[in-house]
C-alpha cells in the first residue's frame, strides 16, 4: 500500500488534468487525454479528521488552493486497527478507510452558510424563535466588547463567574490554561454528554476510564447498547469486527433497537431500555452456578468476589426475565457461551449509560469481563497505553488563584462521586435556569458546542442562557446556541487549524491535524482567539511570565499568534512521549507518530523496578508517584502479598473490584449512599398508563451529534430521522408507516414522521439523534425531529452523565 500510494501520489503530480473541457469534443474523451499537461497546482496534505471526535487520519488533496477531496490517511492506525501487530503486519496490504462524514467534510469547509464575520445581537430579548437581530461588527469591536466584560469580572474578583464550554478533542489544553490563568474553575467540555457513565463504570471496576475492545483477536463479542458498526467513532471499528466474524467469532448485541451492529450480529437480543445491568447480573449468576469463571484470575487479581457471588445468588435468569423481557433460556445460553468461548470480550457504551441507573448497570457488565479474566489479554478489553503530548501545567497568578479556590458551579467534586473532570452540563444549566448553586454566574464562552440541542431539556437550557448577562459563542454556523448569544465569533473547521490527537488505539500513537487551507474568511482559529483574549487581558503566570506572548521553546516574545501556538504544540510534543518538534512530526509519514513499542498485554503484572520505587509514596498497599513538592501524585502500582510491587489495576485496592466497602461512605448527587455492589435498581422514570413508551435515540454513520446536519452530502444521504415504531405496536395504535404523530412527554411535545419496523422492542420508540434544527443553516432546518425538549435537564447521579435516553412518551396521530 505504501509503495502504491507513493506511486499514486507521484503520478497525480505528473499527469493531472486528465479530463477537461478541451477534450469534450474528442471522440474518445477518456482515451485521448494522456498527453495533456497539468493545468493546475496540487498537493496532498496529511492531517486528521474532526467531522466527529474520532480523529481518523486523512489525506487532503488541495488543487490551486482549494480542497477537492479527502481520503483516508494510509499511515494512521486509527483508520485501520487498534492492535499494533495487526497494524504493522496488514496495513500496507489492506489499506485504510474513512467514514461518510469524513468523506463529506469538504462541504462543511465550503458551506455557504458559515459565519464570516463577528456578529452582535441587537434584540435584547433571547429565546427560541426570537430573532436576535444580528449585525456584523468589526473584529476590533468584538474583541474589545468581550475583553471589557471579562476584565470587569476579573477586576471585581468574580472571575469564577465565567463559564467556559468546549468540545473535548480540539484545542482543549490552551482553553484549560486560559481558564486557569483567568481564574475560573468552570471549564467544562463535552464528555459528560457522551460516555462518562461508561467511564465511571470501568473506573470503579478496573481503574481505567476507557478500556478498548480487542475484537480483532476475539472469538466471542458481546455488546450491550453499543453500535460500533455505524456510530463509527473510530474508523477501524467496522474492520476489526467484521474481520473477527470472518475468523469465526460470534457477535451478540443486546439493544432495544436493531442497530446496524445488531443487524450484522449472529444474534440480536432486544431488551427493555435501562435494564441491561439486570441481564448482566443474571449472567453472573449462571457463570458462578456453573463454575465457569476464571478462578486463578479472580483469586490473584480481584477483590470482593464472595460478596458479589452472594449478591447474584438470587439474580437468576428467571428473575431478570420480568425486568428485561429477555427470555431466561436465552440468558442462560448466552452466559454459558460467553464464559466458555475464549477469548471473549464484553463491552457497554452509551445505550445503557444514558439512564439514571447507568453506572451501576455498566458496572455489572464490566464485571462479566472480570469473571472470565477478560482484562488486558489478547481478544479482551485492553488498557490502552495513552502516552502522547504532555499538557504542561500553568501557574496562575494571585488574582486567579483566589478565584480558582471557589467551587465549580456544578459542584462536581462534592456531588458526583465518580464525576468526570469534563463537568456536568445538566447540573450547570438546570442550576442556571432555576437560580440555584453556590453563586450566580454572569458570563459564558461557548466554543464549538451546541447545548441548546445537545443537552436534554431544551427549555431549561434556553432559560439558563437567558439568565446569563453575556454569552459569547464561537462556531462555524449560527447554531441554536449561537442564536442565543450576545456576540458570535466565526470559528474554523478542522481543515483550517492545528491540533494534536492522541489516538484511540492500544499503544502510543499521535496524529497531527494541520491547516490544509488558510481560514477561509481570514478569521482567527479558536486557539488564536483564546490567545488574543489572553493578550488583551494581560494574563500572566505567577512569575510574571506573559504566557500568551512568550514562545514556549524560544522564550521570546512572539507577535504572530499562529507561530506562538506552533511553539506551544512543539513543547507539548517535546516534553511528551514522541520527543519531537512540530516540524519533525509534519515530516513523518502521514504526519502521524507511531510508537514502535506496540500493544502490550497483561500490563497489570508489570513489575515496578526497585530503583523507581525510591521516589514514591506508599499508602496501604498502593504506590503513588511523587509531585515536585513531595505530595502524592498518580497511582502507579500496588504492593502484592509476596512483597513485589506491580502495576496492578488503578482502583483503591489495586485489583479488579467486585465489591468495594468504601463506597458506602460516599453519597451520590441525589443524596443516596453509593452501593458497594453492582446493584440493579430500576431507573427513575418508568413507563406508566399515561406515557406508556420508552423513547430512546441513537447515532448513525450518516451524522455527528447535532453538528453535521447542514452538510449537503450528508443530508442528501440521510435527510430526516423518522420515529421508529414496532409494526405490532403501531397496529394497536392505528398508526401507519409515514404518518405524522405527536410524541408527548410531561415536558413537551414534538411532531415526528413514523417509520414502521420489526427491528425495535414493542415497548420502545426511538429516533436518530441530531435533527430538528431551527438554526445552523437552511439545509439543516425543518428536517426531522429533536427529542431533547421531551426530557428534563438531568444527570446520572454518580457520574454526571447527561440522561439522553431516560424518557417516556405517549404517541398519537397528528
Amino acid at each position: 500500500m505504501k509503495l502504491t500510494r507513493k506511486e499514486f501520489l507521484k503520478l497525480v503530480g505528473t499527469t493531472a488534468g486528465v479530463i477537461s473541457g478541451v477534450n469534450r469534443l474528442n471522440k474518445f474523451a477518456y482515451a485521448t487525454t494522456k498527453k495533456s499537461k497539468p493545468k493546475f497546482k496540487e498537493e496532498w496534505i496529511f492531517s486528521c479528521c474532526n467531522m466527529c471526535g474520532g480523529q481518523s487520519g486523512i489525506m487532503v488533496r488541495v488543487v490551486d488552493g482549494k480542497v477537492v477531496k479527502i481520503e483516508p490517511n494510509p499511515y494512521n492506525p486509527n483508520n485501520f486497527s487498534n492492535i499494533s501487530t495487526d497494524f504493522f503486519a496488514n496495513i500496507e496490504k489492506e489499506g485504510t478507510c474513512i467514514c461518510p462524514k469524513g468523506n463529506a467534510g469538504i462541504l462543511t469547509l465550503y458551506d455557504p452558510e458559515r459565519i464570516k464575520n463577528p456578529l452582535k445581537r441587537t434584540n435584547p430579548k433571547k429565546g427560541i424563535a426570537v430573532n436576535p437581530g444580528f449585525v456584523e461588527i468589526s473584529w476590533e469591536e468584538a474583541y474589545s466588547e468581550i475583553v471589557r466584560r471579562l476584565k470587569q469580572l476579573r477586576d471585581n474578583g468574580e472571575a469564577h463567574k465565567l463559564l467556559w464550554f468546549s468540545e473535548d478533542h480540539s484545542f482543549t489544553h490552551i482553553q484549560d490554561d486560559f481558564c486557569k490563568l483567568f481564574g475560573t474553575p468552570n471549564y467544562s467540555i463535552h464528555s459528560n454528554l457522551c460516555d462518562t457513565a461508561r467511564k465511571a463504570s470501568f473506573k470503579m471496576v478496573m481503574g481505567d476510564e476507557r478500556p478498548l475492545m480487542d475484537s480483532f483477536q476475539s472469538k466471542y463479542i458481546l455488546l450491550f447498547g453499543w453500535n460500533p458498526l455505524s456510530a463509527t467513532k473510530w474508523s477501524y471499528l467496522p474492520r476489526i469486527i467484521t474481520r473477527a466474524i470472518e475468523n469465526g467469532a460470534k457477535l451478540v448485541v443486546v439493544d432495544p433497537y436493531l442497530s446496524y451492529t445488531a443487524n450484522k450480529a449472529q444474534e440480536w437480543i432486544p431488551i427493555r431500555p435501562g435494564t441491561d445491568g439486570a441481564m448482566a447480573l443474571a449472567m453472573g449468576n449462571v457463570i458462578i452456578r456453573e463454575r465457569l469463571y476464571d478462578e486463578t484470575f479472580i483469586k490473584e487479581w480481584t477483590v470482593g468476589f464472595e460478596e458479589y457471588a452472594e449478591y447474584v445468588k438470587d439474580k437468576t435468569p428467571e428473575w431478570q426475565e420480568k425486568i428485561t423481557s429477555v427470555p431466561a433460556k436465552t440468558v442462560e445460553r448466552i452466559a454459558i457461551e460467553f464464559a466458555t468461548t475464549k477469548p471473549q470480550v464484553v463491552d457497554v457504551w452509551s445505550g445503557p449509560g444514558h439512564h439514571s441507573n447507568g453506572v451501576q448497570g455498566g458496572r455489572a457488565i464490566a464485571l462479566l469481563a472480570a469473571l472470565v479474566g477478560g482484562y488486558d489479554r489478547p481478544g479482551t478489553l485492553l488498557i490502552p497505553d495513552r502516552k502522547g503530548n504532555k499538557h504542561i501545567e500553568v501557574h496562575p497568578d494571585e488574582t486567579a488563584k483566589k478565584n480558582l479556590k471557589e467551587k465549580r458551579f456544578d459542584e462536581l467534586k462534592d456531588l458526583y462521586p465518580f464525576g468526570h473532570n469534563s463537568g456536568v452540563y445538566c447540573e450547570i444549566f438546570s442550576r442556571l435556569a432555576e437560580g440555584r448553586g453556590p453563586y450566580k454566574p454572569k458570563m459564558a464562552v461557548i466554543i464549538f458546542q451546541n447545548p441548546m440541542m445537545s443537552v436534554p431539556g431544551t427549555k431549561t437550557v434556553e432559560k439558563a442562557l437567558q439568565n446569563l448577562e453575556f454569552v459569547v459563542v464561537n462556531d462555524i454556523f449560527l447554531s441554536e446556541t449561537a442564536l442565543m448569544a450576545d456576540i458570535v465569533i466565526p470559528g474554523t473547521t478542522y481543515l483550517e487549524r492545528y491540533d494534536l490527537n492522541t489516538h484511540w488505539v492500544t499503544w502510543p500513537v499521535l496524529g497531527l491535524r494541520q491547516p490544509v487551507v488558510k481560514p477561509l474568511f481570514g478569521q482567527p482559529t479558536e486557539y488564536e482567539f483564546v490567545c488574543e483574549l489572553g493578550r488583551r487581558l494581560g494574563l500572566k503566570e505567577e512569575d510574571g511570565n506573559a504566557f500568551f506572548w512568550e514562545g514556549r521553546i524560544s522564550g521570546e516574545r512572539i507577535e504572530d499568534k499562529t507561530k506562538w501556538y506552533e511553539e506551544y504544540l512543539s513543547k507539548e510534543l517535546k516534553e511528551g512521549e514522541p520527543k519531537i518538534t512540530l516540524e519533525e512530526l509534519k515530516k513523518l509519514p502521514g504526519a502521524v507518530w507511531v510508537s514502535k513499542k506496540g500493544t502490550r498485554y497483561e500490563k497489570y503484572k508489570d513489575i515496578i523496578p526497585q530503583e523507581k520505587l525510591a521516589d514514591t509514596i506508599i499508602e496501604g498497599n498502593i504506590v503513588y508517584s511523587k509531585k515536585k513538592d513531595g505530595t502524592k501524585d498518580k497511582q502507579i502500582g500496588m504492593l502484592k502479598e509476596d512483597g513485589t510491587v506491580v502495576r496492578g489495576f488503578f482502583t483503591s485496592s489495586g485489583k479488579v473490584e467486585f465489591y468495594n466497602s468504601d463506597l458506602v461512605k460516599m453519597k451520590d448527587a441525589w443524596g443516596k449512599p453509593v452501593n458497594p455492589l453492582p446493584v440493579y435498581e430500576p431507573r427513575r422514570w418508568q413507563p406508566d398508563k399515561e406515557y406508556p413508551f420508552y423513547l430512546i435515540n441513537w447515532k448513525e454513520a450518516s451524522h455527528t451529534h447535532t453538528r453535521t446536519q447542514n452538510n449537503a452530502y450528508l443530508i442528501e444521504l440521510k435527510g430526516e430521522n423518522p420515529l421508529m415504531i414496532n409494526t405490532e405496536t403501531a397496529k394497536k395504535l392505528g398508526i401507519k408507516d409515514g404518518d405524522l404523530v405527536w410524541v408527548e412527554s410531561p415536558y413537551g411535545k414534538v411532531k415526528a414522521k413514523v417509520k414502521l419496523t420489526e427491528g425495535i422492542h414493542p415497548e420502545v420508540v426511538g429516533l436518530q439523534h441530531g435533527f430538528g434544527h431551527w438554526g445552523l443553516g437552511k439545509t439543516a432546518q425543518d428536517r426531522g425531529t429533536s427529542d431533547a425538549i421531551l426530557r428534563p435537564c438531568l444527570a446520572e447521579p454518580l457520574s454526571g452523565q447527561a440522561l439522553h435516553k431516560e424518557c417516556c412518551v405517549k404517541i398519537y396521530r397528528a
Binding site: M1, V67, C97, P238, T757
Partner: protein, 266 residues
C-alpha cells in the same frame, strides 16, 4: 430515502426489463461477437463486493460523490444521483429480523443493454478496459439507456447541477455534467488511466496492488468489503475471490455479463 428509492428501483427494474427484453431479443449475434472480443481483451476490470463484510455505512456513496463531482439533490428522493448506492430491505419478524444490505455501482456489463439502445452512440463500450462509458456531449437525454438498464444505475440530470458550496472546488480530473444528460459510475476511470499509463511508460504489466484501492468507493470502504482488480490476471485478489465459490452476479440469467461480482453472505 431508502424506501422511495427502492420502489423507484423496482419500478425501473420492471420498466427496464421491458426494454431489456427488447434489447435482449437482439442479443444472440452480439453475445457471440462479444465473446470473441472478450478473449482478446487486454484488461478485464471487475469489482467484487463482499456482502458479508458490508455494514451499510454509506462511505462508498459519499466518497464517489466527492471524487466524481456528482451533483446534489436535497428535495426529491426520486431524482437523487448516487453513482453508487446502498439499499436496505427488512426481512423477518420481530425479534428474528435482519436488514439485508445491498450496494450497487454500475455493473459495466460486457453485454450492455444501455449501449445497445443508445441512439447517438453517447454511451459506448471501451474495448480495451471493458468498461461502459459515456460521451456526455453526444447525450441527447432520451433516457432510453436508463430504461434499458436492468440494474437502474443510470441517472438523469433533471436540473442544472448543484454542487453545494464546492462549485470552485471540484475535482479537476472529472468532467462536470449539465442539465438534460445521463450520467453513471465509471469505475473511476480517471484514476485507472493513470495506473495504466504509468505501467505502459515503464513497459510492464499493471501490478495487482496498484488496482486494489483504485476506485474511490473501494479505497474508502470501512469494512474493506470492496475489491477491485483485473480478472485476466489469474493471481489477482479479485480472481481468487471470483473463484472462491461465494461469488455470483446480479440477474445473471439476463445474459448481460456484468463485471461486478458479489460474495454471498453465507
Amino acid at each position: 430515502m431508502e424506501e422511495k428509492i427502492l420502489s423507484r428501483k423496482e419500478f425501473l427494474r420492471l420498466a427496464g426489463l421491458g426494454v431489456a427484453t427488447l434489447a435482449v431479443s437482439s442479443l444472440p449475434k452480439k453475445v457471440y461477437a462479444y465473446k470473441e472480443k472478450k478473449k482478446n481483451r487486454k484488461f478485464r476490470f471487475v469489482m467484487v463486493i463482499d456482502l458479508r463484510r458490508c455494514v451499510g455505512c454509506h462511505s462508498c456513496s459519499i466518497a464517489c460523490k466527492v471524487e466524481n463531482n456528482v451533483p446534489l439533490e436535497l428535495n426529491r428522493d426520486d431524482r437523487k444521483i448516487f453513482w453508487n448506492q446502498v439499499f436496505f430491505k427488512e426481512e423477518g419478524a420481530y425479534p428474528y429480523v435482519k436488514e439485508k444490505i445491498f450496494n450497487r455501482p454500475c455493473f459495466h456489463c460486457d453485454n450492455h443493454p444501455c449501449v445497445n439502445v443508445c441512439p447517438t452512440g453517447a454511451t459506448y463500450h471501451d474495448e480495451e478496459k471493458g468498461l461502459v462509458l459515456q460521451r456526455y456531449e453526444r447525450c441527447i437525454g432520451c433516457r432510453y439507456c436508463a430504461l434499458a438498464c436492468p440494474y437502474g444505475v443510470r441517472y438523469f440530470n433533471w436540473k442544472k447541477p448543484d454542487y453545494g458550496g464546492r462549485k470552485e472546488a471540484l475535482n479537476p480530473d472529472v468532467e462536470t455534467r449539465y442539465k438534460g444528460i445521463i450520467e453513471k459510475c465509471t469505475f473511476c476511470i480517471h484514476r485507472l488511466e493513470r495506473v495504466i499509463e504509468k505501467a505502459e511508460k515503464e513497459g510492464r504489466n499493471i501490478k495487482d496492488e496498484e488496482l486494489h484501492y483504485l476506485p474511490a468507493c473501494v479505497q474508502t470502504c470501512m469494512s474493506k468489503a470492496r475489491h477491485f482488480g483485473d480478472l485476466n490476471d489469474p493471481e489477482s485478489t479479485v480472481s481468487k475471490l471470483v473463484r472462491s465459490g461465494r461469488a455470483y452476479r446480479l440477474l445473471e440469467d439476463l445474459g448481460t455479463e456484468p463485471n461486478v461480482y458479489y460474495l454471498k453472505e453465507a
